[in-house]
Symmetry: C2
Subunit: 185 residues, 2 copies
């Protein structure tokens, strides 16, 4: 085995261990009540974008405080590159971080601090036939994150689905994800 093969094997093994794909080809799994187990290895999924909606720009009461790091599962990213659409089974993770600092060596801005929350959206028109677009939304609270989701519903005006219905495409704010836009077929 050459060095090259060894490193490729190492990386492939890491991806495999970090991002298990279950026997049905899914990257996440549900319990019998359609609660979603916390995804594994999401920080090595495909990062698609970050935003910051800090408390100090929202009267001290941001709806989703501070930084968001957003990822898509790697199987759905491959599908997106081929089809420009989100497959049944598409899963997005949004991890929230506090603002750690507003001043750095390169000037004033927003710099991330600690992880403060984990939320997931998942599309499956078969599993969630009554949810608009088949999208369901889940939360794992603050660290240490829960093993199993609290359902955030997905169909009300004041919960996730209410805003996400106004995303540019299929309940997703693709307008903020330059990486998805560049990979659009």
């Amino acid at each position: 085995m050459t060095y090259k093969q060894y490193y490729v094997f190492l990386i492939a093994l890491t991806v495999f261990l970090a991002s298990p794909v279950f026997a049905n080809g899914e990257t996440v799994r549900f319990d019998a009540e359609n609660k979603l187990y916390r995804p594994e290895g999401w920080r090595q999924w495909v990062f698609i974008g970050a935003q910051v909606t800090p408390n100090d720009m929202n009267g001290g009461q941001a709806y989703l405080p501070e930084f968001h790091y957003v990822y898509i599962d790697p199987v759905s990213f491959e599908q997106w590159k081929k089809t420009g659409a989100f497959r049944n089974g598409a899963t997005f993770v949004k991890e929230l971080l506090s603002v750690g600092s507003k001043e750095g060596m390169t000037g004033n801005g927003y710099f991330p601090g600690e992880f403060i929350g984990l939320e997931v959206s998942h599309k499956d028109t078969n599993r969630f036939p009554d949810n608009p677009g088949g999208w369901a939304f889940f939360s794992y609270g603050k660290p240490p994150y829960g093993e199993i989701s609290a359902d955030l519903k997905g169909d009300g005006e004041l919960d996730c689905g209410g805003c996400h219905a106004r995303g540019a495409e299929d309940w997703v704010f693709t307008e903020y994800y330059a990486i998805l836009n560049e990979e659009r077929p």
Copy 2:
């Protein structure tokens, strides 16, 4: 081949194609003058953090305008998890994005727009023995990015190294990278 094996193979193949590792185990390659070829597949490297230092928080003249998405090469990430240090060969990519919007469904904030720049730091105390910490800094300009780097030096007070010397660890601003901090051994 089961579905699971198929998808793992697909993902491993994607990582391989997106992030080639060269015969010497390196994730990047240089020309004879130590100019660095633009890394391949950096958006599927390991994302470690994002910051925003927008023009409108810096008198209209930000030193590094707007959003930064920062990645580390996957081989060096594996090394960091084992050692808590950056190996010779460690490569960071910082991609710059414009501010696309300051108002979204979840409130006021900074939302990314388009890619506007690509910069890389690379540590190698053998290749760059005269650079502090062995770090060299490179730029690929604005899109479409160059194939080969413009050297940003790395040892002056007003260029990359001048600020990076003040990063928390080894010329890296690890204080902003919660993902690295969580994976510290």
